[in-house]
């Protein structure tokens, strides 16, 4: 079964707006990662946050992690049309990643 659930399942915003996606997971983790998948492509790693970290930034991305609630959020600021993609959270442990169900983000020009 999937480790995590993401919400929303789909999100449509205007270029320049911020996009927030949430991820919940079930078991203890070593780290939590976010990946992007453009249509018809493989996944690309965006950011990794360790279980002892609470917040991490990378460019226009901001990730938070709340291990007490077993949840994480990904914020994309000042979105661009090129950010249109599916975004997946994944929990990392013992030589595997377990992926969430994904959020489809559409950024309208």
């Amino acid at each position: 079964s999937q480790q995590g659930e993401e919400d929303p399942q789909a999100l449509s915003i205007q270029e320049g707006e911020n996009a927030t996606m949430n991820c919940s997971y079930k078991t203890s983790i070593n780290n939590l990662q976010w990946y992007r998948q453009n249509s018809g492509r493989g996944l690309v790693h965006l950011i990794l946050i360790r279980s002892n970290e609470r917040e991490k930034h990378s460019g226009r991305l901001r990730v938070t992690l709340d291990t007490s609630k077993k949840s994480s959020s990904l914020l994309i600021t000042a979105s661009r049309a090129a950010d249109t993609a599916s975004y997946f959270c994944a929990t990392g442990s013992s030589y595997k990643l377990i992926f969430g169900s994904g959020t489809r983000l559409l950024v309208r020009p």
Binding site: G42, T91, K96, F99
Partner: protein
């Protein structure tokens, strides 16, 4: 330069056939993986290999047989293909950290079983 490559990109075949998907990585990573992404975009781990040794087999039917001839290659052979095997299969690699580090994915192989 392609980091993780897979061939073929598309595979269309009849039920009951046997097919193989090849994967190669030029990143010098120790660990390689196979994932299956279904039509609803759920992505699920199938196998993990570390230094050519099988580490994880996530209750995959034994019709699926991965083979790692060396650390840079992990091929997937599927016997007696079934309709439910239709999916996109992704190969990935990582440095092999036990904690589950960043993974690099190939472009995927879209398998359609008719």
């Amino acid at each position: 330069d392609t980091a993780v490559s897979q061939t073929p990109k598309y595979l269309v075949t009849q039920m009951g056939n046997d097919k193989s998907i090849k994967c190669e990585q030029n990143l010098g990573h120790d660990t390689m993986y196979w994932y299956k992404q279904d039509s609803k975009k759920f992505l699920k781990i199938m196998f993990s290999y570390n230094n050519k040794e099988l580490i994880i087999n996530e209750t995959v039917p034994n019709r699926f047989s991965p083979k790692s001839p060396d650390k840079a290659h992990l091929n997937l052979h599927i016997n007696s293909l079934e309709l439910g095997d239709s999916a996109v299969y992704f190969c990935a690699s990582s440095l092999g950290l036990a904690e589950g580090g960043e993974q690099f994915f190939g472009p995927g192989t879209r398998l359609t079983v008719l």
